[in-house]
């Protein structure tokens, strides 16, 4: 059995490693035009800022792949014959496969802005993007970053680290406010401004202006203001990279359509990670998950499902588990567990704040459903247990220390948090009680 994996990001690599664990006898080929070896995509920013070299971003030594008998092919796949189960690379090489895993990731959104394809205008996702940014930021005095999400702020921080002035255009009235609750959003907004970045809230991109040679020279905002700049970052989210799948006749929706075992709609083809759209019967929308750990989990699951299919076992299905994520906004760390910002019916919030720190507990009728921590480190597995077990807020408040993950000697805030939360909780339960009585 020969498995071809298209893409060597975290999804492809997780699939390849899991496949090798399960099947010493299969041959595995991982193909990517971006790089021969897997590197950590979230570390791209650190190369640009000089925290690491490219070599440092590779999570496995180069010799690892040979030891694991995972063949690496550097090249762009341009054609797939899903009937004959063959694929073709841009340089003419051909490869036969028995099963094909599409782990082609995502690509930055471009919403048809005039000038969006000029030189100096780009998203930030790949090594290609990093190379472009290296070139376009040479000698640049100002960069404009469009989009108020994580990657937008990362890109802003990157430019800022090289002494390039940054303007951030954010459609919302507060940074990343469609995901972050008000208090968290306000903290980050303040931080961005304190760092000396020019943050424009409630402002969108109208067009990018050409300097006459095909290079970006300025942007015009929705308010009609012109901002001179040499770099334009488009970071308004990413979409599944389904171009190849679509071209070779693999059915796609927003992404490559798969069942809950990550099988695509064509025999012998699977899809996982950022590019996959999982059909979720009964749900309003199919599931597209595009964060690091879901890519990792889906890659593993695809491997396990291929193995199960070959063995004639029932196929495992993808369980998204309890949501979590983390990020670092400039110097501020952020972790989220469970359902925060989901606007669930009946949800109530407990918020403790201190300078540069915040802890939020979201609960429904006293049962915790989510946590946000800013400037604090919290234990993933403890939070997950509490949420899965739908622990009572009182229990959580009594065991706050169990969730702390800050380094030694950091000041402990639990007693203060406990007082704050207890006060807030008392206020929340009073009207509820009177409501019941009425």
């Amino acid at each position: 059995m020969h498995i071809a994996i298209l893409g060597n990001g975290i999804t492809g690599v997780s699939a390849a490693i899991r496949l090798r664990e399960l099947r010493p006898d299969w041959s595995i080929t991982m193909i990517s035009g971006e790089s021969t070896y897997h590197y950590s995509r979230p570390a791209l920013m650190y190369i640009y800022m000089g925290h690491m070299g490219y070599a440092e971003t590779k999570p496995y030594e180069d010799s690892f792949w040979g030891q694991q008998r995972i063949d690496l092919v550097r090249g762009w796949v341009t054609a797939v014959d899903t009937d004959a189960r063959r694929l073709e690379l841009a340089d003419g090489r051909e490869l036969e496969y028995d099963q094909l895993l599409l782990a082609t990731g995502a690509k930055p959104n471009k919403f048809g802005w005039p000038g969006q394809d000029l030189e100096g205008v780009q998203g930030f996702y790949s090594l290609m993007d990093l190379e472009r940014l290296y070139r376009s930021s040479e000698g640049a005095r100002r960069g404009v970053v469009v989009g108020g999400g994580l990657i937008g702020l990362e890109l802003a921080e990157m430019l800022h680290s090289r002494g390039i002035a940054v303007t951030l255009l954010v459609r919302e009235d507060s940074y990343w406010n469609n995901v972050l609750p008000d208090e968290e959003s306000a903290m980050v907004t303040e931080l961005i401004r304190a760092a000396g970045m020019d943050l424009r809230l409630g402002v969108e991109l109208k067009e990018v202006l050409d300097d006459g040679t095909g290079r970006a020279t300025a942007v015009v905002t929705s308010e009609g203001q012109r901002i001179d700049c040499q770099v334009v970052g488009l970071t308004a989210g990413v979409s599944p990279n389904k171009a190849l799948a679509e071209a070779v006749g693999v059915p796609c929706g927003r992404g490559v359509l798969t069942d809950s075992s990550l099988r695509a709609k064509v025999p012998g083809v699977w899809a996982a990670g950022d590019c996959a759209e999982l059909e979720t019967p009964g749900e309003e929308r199919n599931m597209i998950q595009q964060v690091w750990y879901t890519g990792k989990a889906q890659g593993r699951l695809a491997a396990e499902a291929m193995h199960a299919e070959a063995e004639g076992h029932a196929l495992p299905t993808y369980d998204p588990g309890i949501w979590f994520n983390s990020a670092k906004f400039l110097d501020l760390e952020y972790q989220t567990y469970g359902q925060v910002g989901f606007h669930l019916p009946g949800e109530q919030h407990l918020v403790w704040q201190a300078p540069g720190k915040l802890l939020r507990i979201v609960h429904i009728d006293g049962r915790v459903v989510g946590f946000n921590a800013m400037g604090l480190r919290w234990r993933h597995l403890v939070c997950e247990d509490w949420i899965r077990e739908a622990r009572n807020v009182d229990f959580v408040l009594a065991h706050l220390e169990d969730a702390g993950f800050d380094p030694e000697f950091y000041s402990r805030h639990e007693p203060e948090m406990r007082r704050t939360f207890a006060d807030q909780l008392a206020k929340q339960t009073e009207p509820a009680l009177s409501g019941q009585e009425a």
Binding site: S35, Y37, S40, P42, A43, Y46, M49, G50, H51, M52, G53, Y54, E56, K58, P59, W76, T78, A79, V80, D81, T82, D83, A84, E88, M128, L130, E131, Y134, G139, A140, H160, S161, R162, G163, I164, A165, T167, A194, M197, D198, I227, A243, L244, A247, V248, W292, F324, S326, K328, L330, D331, E333, Q335, W378, R379, H380, E384, E408, F409, S411
Partner: protein
């Protein structure tokens, strides 16, 4: 490929020719300072952005320049040299200036991880300046051990009829002479000068370390600890003991790192041999024995080897302060890990064997080895004590990272490491599934541990070489790593994945 349709990705992706072997994108174009602006267009630009270095920054650099010039003039002309004025101008002034510079430079930056541009710096990545610093530091150690006259200390010369020339003191050694006389009541030698420079390096670069990690109490307290132990117990106390005619005892070093405290007779400190040493000598011997055989296992069980290696030890102290700019140069490959284990445990085996042999020889009245015993001891001293620990261990900071000796050579670290690996509560725990494999932890691990390899699998890190500096946990952008004194080897551990 009949059924395949033609397909084009992004044109620019096809022209992309990233050379992986070259290892990256090179050093970026730096925006000249006068072009930098963080003010919004149309708004008045903040004049502070164009004001250049602050007054204090200029003043501190001025102090360094004046101090270095004063030092060079003193050494070349001999004027002021050996006076308090000379010491203040030539040594204290540039040291205070350097410390002030670090303080002022980092004070205005937001508290957080400050690694911007580390990989673009030639000084910190084996560029020309990096090599020059490495060669310079190596030369300093070669001079210290074998050619002390370059540091201003020319030993007395004897022939068969008696002394031909007396000790001659000049240069750097003469510079610190007033301090030596004050502290020890005796003139300075090159070792005194070395200890002064070493302590200054720990303190001055300790200020830098503290400013860089001022958001992190663990780093602040730990750095204060190495500064205290170096200054108080590895400099002031031993020198004062000397002034009271007592043995020059370093309570922060014990066997096998400082082998002579437990070597017999003439090879060792010979604590009880002289009348003068007497009771104090016995007490020191008991202390040294207790540190090696009692404190080491107990403290390592409770806190891991970090209680010593990154909190107390002078070698570790220098690595954590002066060595910090080069911590990322440690080799993270599995090959380096293999070499590490072979070399460090070989050194341990040699010193254990040597100590045993010398004691046996001592008990047998020297009949076993004769003059050969002294020769063995000298060879160990030359190859391990001087070449490895000094020349390579510190001299190669800018080339191989700050912990070459601690990782590959130190027999103390070897023992602590075995204890830590098999009999300690200490471990670095990882936070569930939060790791994004970015590699900041591995990059900034001075001991060359591939921390990420564990973190991305959600495994605890229990490695013999980990000195518990805590920098991996500090640089992690996702809050994944935590140094913990866990429940221990005998009890069930909570919250591991």
């Amino acid at each position: 490929m009949s059924s395949a349709k033609p397909f084009q990705l992004n044109d620019s992706d096809f022209t992309y020719d990233f050379d992986e072997e070259a290892g990256g994108f090179g050093v970026p174009y730096e925006v000249p300072a006068h072009q930098r602006t963080h003010a919004a267009p149309g708004e008045d630009e903040d004049p502070a952005d164009h004001a250049g270095p602050s007054l204090l920054l200029r003043a501190s650099l001025g102090m360094v320049v004046v101090g270095v010039v004063a030092l060079l003039l003193q050494v070349s002309t001999g004027k002021l040299l050996g006076s308090w004025g000379g010491l203040l101008l030539g040594l204290v002034l540039p040291s205070v200036g350097t410390a002030l510079y670090f303080w002022e430079r980092y004070r205005h930056l937001s508290a957080g991880i400050k690694n911007d541009g580390v990989f673009f710096s030639g000084t910190r990545n084996r560029g020309l300046i990096g090599w020059l610093v490495g060669v310079g530091m190596t030369a300093f150690y070669v001079a210290l051990y074998w050619f002390p006259s370059y540091l201003g200390y020319t030993p007395a010369v004897w022939d068969e009829y008696g002394m031909v020339s007396d000790v001659q003191v000049s240069g750097l050694t003469l510079l610190v002479d007033p301090l030596a006389r004050l502290m020890t009541g005796a003139p300075a030698d090159h070792w005194f000068a070395y200890t002064v420079l070493y302590t200054l390096a720990v303190v001055v670069f300790g200020v830098r370390m503290m400013m860089r990690y001022r958001n992190n109490p663990y780093q602040l307290i730990r750095t204060a600890s190495v500064m205290f132990f170096q200054t108080g117990l590895a400099f002031v106390l031993p020198k004062l003991l000397k002034s009271f005619q007592q043995p020059e005892f370093y309570p922060t070093y014990f066997w096998p790192l400082k082998r002579d405290v437990l070597l017999p007779g003439d090879y060792g400190m010979n604590w009880t041999a002289t009348e003068a040493a007497g009771q104090v000598g016995v007490w020191m011997l008991v202390f040294a024995g207790a540190m090696t055989f009692l404190a080491t296992p107990v403290l390592t069980y409770l806190y891991g080897k970090r209680w010593y290696c990154s909190w107390v030890c002078g070698c570790g102290g220098l690595a954590e302060t002066l060595g910090d700019p080069w911590r990322h140069l440690s080799d993270k490959s599995t090959r380096a890990w293999w070499i590490e284990r072979i070399v460090i445990y070989s050194v341990l085996a040699v010193i254990v064997f040597l100590t045993g042999l010398l004691w046996l020889n001592h008990v047998r009245g020297g009949e076993l080895l004769g003059g050969f015993g002294a020769s063995l001891e000298r060879h160990y001293g030359f190859w391990i004590g001087s070449m490895f620990a000094g020349v390579a261990g510190v001299g190669f900071y800018p080339l191989l990272g700050s912990r070459v000796w601690c990782r590959f050579g130190c027999p103390q670290a070897a023992i602590l490491g075995i204890l830590q690996r098999f009999l300690s509560r200490f471990r670095i725990t990882t936070n569930g599934g939060q790791c994004i494999s970015c590699g900041n932890c591995s990059t900034y691990c001075e001991m060359g541990i591939d921390v990420r390899a564990y973190a991305q699998r959600g495994e605890n890190i229990v490695r013999a070489s980990c000195v518990g500096c805590g920098v991996c946990a500090a640089v992690c952008p996702r809050g994944v790593l935590k140094l913990e004194n866990g429940a221990g080897v005998l009890e069930e551990q909570r919250y591991t994945s």
